[in-house]
């Protein structure tokens, strides 16, 4: 019984309210993941591989980079870095919104 008073001790608590809250948190998480992974796929497999040949007909203005080649060797990597930082931000916010964050002390 003592455990149920301390939400941090039993994160997968068995009371229906907590369970429902965690389930909703998980659904939101999965939605974010799907969105981010679509961007991940398009920037690398899409622009860098499948569409690389047609995109190579364009050159990035002011440089000598064919566009598909640039995505494969530069652009996709920059997109990956940005994606992870976006993920960190939205997940940390989501944790707070659902009260499942770890707090500043631990």
């Amino acid at each position: 019984m003592a455990d149920s008073n301390d939400p941090s001790a039993r994160p997968s608590g068995t009371d229906p309210e907590t369970q429902e809250r965690h389930a909703e948190y998980w659904r939101r998480n999965l939605r974010y993941l799907a969105g981010l992974l679509v961007v991940w796929f398009v920037a690398s497999f899409g622009f860098g591989i499948i569409l690389a040949e047609p995109l190579n007909n364009f050159t990035i203005p002011g440089t000598g980079f064919p566009l598909g080649f640039w995505f494969a060797q530069q652009g996709s990597i920059y997109v990956f870095v940005v994606l992870i930082f976006v993920y960190v931000k939205i997940m940390n916010d989501l944790d707070v919104e659902f009260g499942v964050d770890e707090g500043g002390e631990a």
Binding site: H22, I49, I77, Y87, D95
Partner: protein, 567 residues
């Protein structure tokens, strides 16, 4: 000072630094030995992950490979960075919440099965040894060229250093030496890159420089290179020759393999909280991206330099670096048409094989080819060693903890004392170093090639069962075990068949669906997913406490210190 004395000085100074750190960070407990006590800051962990990750393949081989492969080399660039997105989004935070010491720990507990644990131990050891043999060859190349000792002696020195700090400090020692090694290797990589970029394009930022114009001719560098390629009979640099499907599969295998490599995954057990695990993947990728966005620039500079400096050059006037590398056997000239000139031409030319250049030497030779100062050449040697040693140490730790923790403590000898487990871990690290050294002296292939296979094996064994373990509660032990066994067996068999049993058949018309052995890990992974999901449907659901465990992994709050959960 000469190149050799600079190299000697810089390499010894960096080794002294690593040993100093190792003595300062000795591990006193198994927790310190396996996960550095669990208190590493996210930034330091990001840096250590970057060094752990960037191996001799990234530092020594990759730019050279891209230089020869052109667009096709993109598979390494996208594959070895894109995996971090998967790691950040799908694995690291959940595994940190689970809080274990090793990857087989997770597999064994999540799949409530000793058999699953043992299968995971075997996969981890197999993958890690494949990978480590590539590192030791890298160490050997650097020593033999720059310090003019035998490759074997070089490997022995590397083994002694790695054993010293991995055996003494465990994960704690490795973490802080890796932070130092990252600084050494990134500095060593960037200095010549910036030098070259200024020399060739006038732009100090290599990432922008290789999209610039050649100030002498006013033609874009890449366009000039494509023209030169056409003239000599090579495929255009920015287009490549591999089929789109094969590029797709290789990239996917490298990405997924990255996310499934045990020595990378365990780094995220070492931070205090779930949110630290998330951000620490971000830091790691920034540190990695710095090198990975520079590599394609170096590749273009090196290619341009090579074609300009040796093509049609009389052999008698070959520069000093040319003859130095010839002595190592990694570069060779065979005057097929007997005109005394060095011809370097595309694959369809009758004199295509006049000049053979080992792809592993381009980064190391580049500063000399461009005539950079001697200290830069020495710095590159120290950087190459830092990259190889940091990765080797991380891999050896996986092997040693798989033996002492997963095999002894969690399976065969549960009542082993803390002190004896620590001794066992150190002995296992010693034995692993000896095996790694043997593989380094008798390497099974090119550095990047061997390493690419390790990814296929990791992709086809760990990735699917870890993902399903987190994202599908219904996944059962029977599904996971069969999935891992079939995935890794299929992938290993395909690679061994084409690479070692029938190398003469290793070409697109014999491959299944045109997928090369480098890309087959993707198919192995899909097979593993399919088998695991289907078998799970037809076997009894996991027990309630395992389902509760999965629920708790999905929510950050309540991260304890890393601990052992009874199966």
């Amino acid at each position: 000072m000469t190149v050799q004395s600079w190299t000697f000085l810089l390499v010894s100074a960096s080794f002294a630094l690593y040993i100093g750190i190792a003595i300062w960070t000795r591990a006193g407990s198994t927790k310190e030995f396996y996960i550095a006590g669990g208190g590493v800051s996210p930034l330091a962990n990001g840096m250590a992950t970057a060094a752990d990750w960037m191996s001799a393949a990234s530092f020594i081989s990759m730019a050279g490979l891209i230089s020869f492969m052109g667009y096709d080399g993109s598979v390494y660039l996208m594959g070895w960075t894109g995996g971090y997105v998967l790691l950040a989004l799908l694995l690291a935070p959940y595994l940190r919440k689970f809080g274990a010491f090793t990857v087989p720990d997770f597999v064994g507990d999540r799949y409530y099965s000793q058999t699953a644990r043992i299968v995971a131990v075997i996969c981890a050891i197999f993958v890690s040894f494949t990978y480590v043999s590539g590192q030791m060859r890298g160490v050997g190349i650097v020593f033999s060229r720059f310090l003019e000792v035998d490759v074997e002696v070089g490997v022995y020195i590397g083994m002694a250093i790695v054993f010293f700090y991995a055996g003494l400090g465990g994960m704690k020692g490795i973490t802080y030496t890796q932070v130092a090694q990252y600084c050494v290797l990134i500095f060593a990589y960037m200095v010549p890159a910036i030098y070259l970029s200024i020399m060739i394009t006038g732009n100090p930022i290599p990432q922008l420089g290789f999209g610039g114009v050649d100030p002498e001719t006013g033609v874009a560098l890449l366009e000039g290179l494509n023209g030169l390629h056409e003239q000599l009979g090579f495929a255009a640099y920015t287009s490549g020759t591999k089929s789109t499907l094969d590029v797709f599969f290789i990239t996917a295998a490298l990405m997924v393999g990255t996310a499934g490599l045990p020595h990378v995954i365990i780094r995220f057990y070492t931070v205090p909280r779930v949110r630290d695990a998330r951000i620490s993947v971000g830091w790691a990728l920034i540190f990695i991206a710095l090198l990975y966005t520079t590599a394609p620039a170096i590749a273009v500079f090196a290619r341009t330099n090579l074609l300009h400096s040796v093509s049609e050059l009389p052999y008698s006037e070959a520069p000093a670096w040319f003859t130095n590398w010839e002595a190592t056997g990694l570069l060779a000239h065979n005057d097929l048409n007997g005109d005394g000139l060095i011809q370097y031409t595309g694959p369809d030319s009758p004199i295509a094989n006049e000049l053979t250049v080992d792809r592993d030497i381009m980064v190391l030779a580049n500063p000399e080819i461009s005539g950079l100062p001697a200290w830069v050449v020495g710095l590159v040697a120290a950087g190459g060693l830092a990259a190889a040693l940091s990765t080797a140490a991380g891999l050896l730790l996986v092997v040693s903890s798989a033996v002492s923790h997963d095999l002894l403590k969690r399976s065969l000898w549960p009542e082993i004392t803390e002190r004896n487990e620590l001794i066992a871990a150190r002995l296992a690290a010693g034995a692993a170093v000896v095996v790694a050294g043997y593989l380094g002296i008798h390497p099974p292939g090119f550095v990047a090639e061997v390493v690419a296979f390790a990814f296929g094996l990791a992709a086809s064994s760990f990735f699917p069962v870890i993902i399903l373990g987190i994202f599908s509660k219904r996944t059962t032990r029977e599904g996971a075990i069969l999935g891992m066994v079939l995935g890794i067996t299929f992938t290993a068999a395909y690679i061994v068949w084409f690479k070692f049993v029938h190398p003469e058949m290793n070409s697109a018309e014999h491959w299944w669906f045109g997928i090369s052995p480098e890309g087959i890990g993707t198919l192995g992974m899909l097979l593993n997913f399919a088998v695991t999901i289907v078998v799970s449907r037809f076997t009894p659901a996991p027990p309630a406490e395992v389902q509760a465990l999965v629920d708790s992994i999905r929510v950050p709050r309540g991260t304890g210190e890393a601990h052992e959960i009874s199966a």
